[in-house]
Symmetry: C2
Subunit: 399 residues, 2 copies
């Protein structure tokens, strides 16, 4: 008998996916270069050559049995050591290889971290707007998602509402900075205040609330912005990472959970992730990918294009009268739509071959997301379409 | 708060893993070439050169963004089509790409297939002896494992017990032929009889019982043995496969679920696997591995060494007085221990640097498994140790 829960999920098609399909379809009609597709967060800059070189070297020189043989259950030791060394150097931490659990991207990392620190029926807090896949990661463990409404002024944290909602049934808080979809980086003040509240409430409740910190955009931070490392501020932090963005490897599914050594349970949690993986199908990263990434993980792709694109779009959007908070990183920008219904707004934009994502599914109706991980030349070519769209459809917008 | 269920799993260390660690430790003392390590099922023959060549070609010629970009949620279309074509050609089936869901090895395949066709509280039947990881795959979904005792005469199916245990709470039956740990291939008679019972009981119960068929050893079949394809006999079969053994890629985590097109729900189930994957962390295979395997999946490594090794060991074991059913495939052999307690038996063998796995964790106490995926030269060098072990410890064994 088919499991009805998963069957029902089939009906709910992702808005992002539908828009992306529109873009592909429209591209086949007018040429994809003429569709201004701001829908998908697929990196637009290549992986560093050093990765490709190391892959080829491994394939040519390494014993195929070692190269393609089973990784240890807890992951490739060199990969884990390289991750620990890198985090220690950059954030002045004390990770050992035993604190690192390799996962299939940040998705795998979050799914494992949440299973380790919640049980079915617990609540997990997220802050709107948030990446829609957080819902299946959380509900997949049997926990419930609890959404704190957005701080639409600065897209930091709505602490008033957070304090109200943080009760004894909340076992974990899931954050994402630099943030998808807003592009905002949490300030040190925000991280400190969050940490203080978690410490205080943990003491009051008599158990440690875990902070699950999703950081795939950590390396994409713009001029003058500092991205605080949350585990530095709060001991019970599980850092979830993916090499999808920093070295443009989303399809190779490689990331990790880093368990903060300041938490006495950190090594236990890392080992529990290994046990959790057994039940979900041993979703460790491919062996050759672990080995190659271990050699290049302090590099990044040339990420400067994202800042260039952001500056062009930010200037244009504000010039056109959009309300928008300037992103501090990522490759997203998150303006307020020019009418209340962002879905209707995005539908109208399609007439101008502009593919914008309404933020309803991110828990923030009335806003839309643009993913500007595309060529700068295309961003520039999209500006006349953007102007025409806004001036035609919303001539009275500044009133 | 830490999830106690997963924490408790930490105490239970796998016997295979412990033995393998002994082998590594002992190897550091006397040289690993002198430890006769029959504990682990890691293939001992290299991947076909065509795979390595294709990987290098992709790395040199393909656009890095396409090569390393996100695969579609449902997997790489060329990989899926290549899998469907291959199964259709070899087993006279009618799979389309839409019936195939790519997974991280057979582990991922089984975990997804079971989640698709059971709900928490359902029972899943397995046949002893069985691969110990079946327990976390099944209990990880919230279902219960129900173990049919072994047919120790031929290691086919104990149909009498199966019939008794197959009640209305059983929603899926999990089989594995060629079998780990016995090396036995189910005969056509066995598969037909199993299929007939499932058809009859499905009718009686008013729902379709699913057959989840784990087939990573399908290509390792010895002279004169035919391995029937279960989906050919039973419509509601979900075939789970891994390229770990046939092309020696266990660490690259690539396999699939193939949903039988004769089942009207087959395409729905494949799509449900995509939804299930969202909750467990998007454990799809690495993009480059999907692309490269698509080009070589009708090849196999040179698997002949396994049959050579099996024949040497079978002759020696029977000569020494062991009760053992001759394997029809895989790289395992499964003799009866020379004392009732196979754990004690395997402990004694360690004194002779022979690493044998007692079958208690496979649900078949009193037997042991030898994984002979090692060099033939080493198999031959192990024979004097085997003889000395048996003759010293069990001089009266034939009485």
């Amino acid at each position: 008998m088919i499991n009805e829960k998963y069957k029902e999920m089939l009906g709910k098609k992702s808005v992002i996916r539908q828009l992306s399909e529109f873009a592909t379809q429209r591209g086949s009609e007018i040429g994809y270069e003429n569709v201004f597709d701001y829908s998908l967060g697929n990196p637009s800059v290549p992986v560093p050559d050093a990765f490709t070189d190391e892959m080829i070297r491994l394939l040519k020189e390494e014993s195929p049995m070692r190269l393609h043989g089973y990784s240890p259950t807890m992951g490739n030791p060199e990969y884990k050591q390289a991750v620990a060394d890198s985090l220690n150097r950059r954030f002045n931490m004390n990770y050992k290889a035993t604190h690192i659990f390799p996962t299939s991207g940040a998705a795998g990392a979050i799914a494992h971290a949440l299973r380790a620190v919640t049980k079915p029926g617990d609540d997990v807090i997220v802050f709107a707007p948030f990446f829609p896949e957080y819902t299946p990661y959380i509900t997949g463990t049997g926990a419930n998602i609890k959404i704190v409404p957005p701080d639409t002024k600065a897209f930091q944290i709505n602490f008033e509402k957070f304090n109200e909602m943080l009760d004894k049934n909340v076992k974990a808080v899931l954050i994402n900075s630099p943030n998808n979809p807003t592009g905002i980086v949490y300030s040190e003040e925000t991280v400190k205040r969050l940490s203080d509240i978690l410490k205080e409430k943990s003491k009051e409740f008599g158990f440690d609330i875990y902070l699950v910190s999703d950081e795939p955009y950590r390396e994409i931070v713009f001029d003058g912005v500092v991205c605080p490392y949350p585990a530095k501020y709060y001991d019970h932090t599980l850092t979830c990472y993916s090499f999808s963005k920093s070295i443009s490897l989303p399809g190779e599914r490689i990331g990790y959970v880093a368990c903060n050594p300041s938490d006495p349970d950190s090594e236990t949690i890392a080992m529990m992730c290994g046990q959790i993986s057994r039940g979900t199908g041993h979703n460790c990263p491919a062996s050759i990918i672990q080995m190659a990434v271990a050699k290049v993980l302090d590099m990044t792709s040339d990420l400067s294009v994202y800042e260039t694109n952001m500056n062009i779009l930010y200037k244009e959007l504000t010039g056109l009268g959009f309300e928008v908070v300037k992103p501090g990183g990522t490759f997203y920008i998150f303006p307020k739509a020019l009418e209340e219904d962002a879905v209707a707004f995005s539908q109208k934009a399609l007439k101008y071959d502009l593919v914008l994502v309404p933020a309803d599914s991110f828990g923030c109706p009335g806003y839309f997301r643009m993913a500007y991980c595309i060529d700068t030349e295309k961003v520039e070519r999209s500006l006349p379409a953007l102007r025409k769209f806004v001036e035609t459809e919303y001539p009275d917008r500044r009133k």
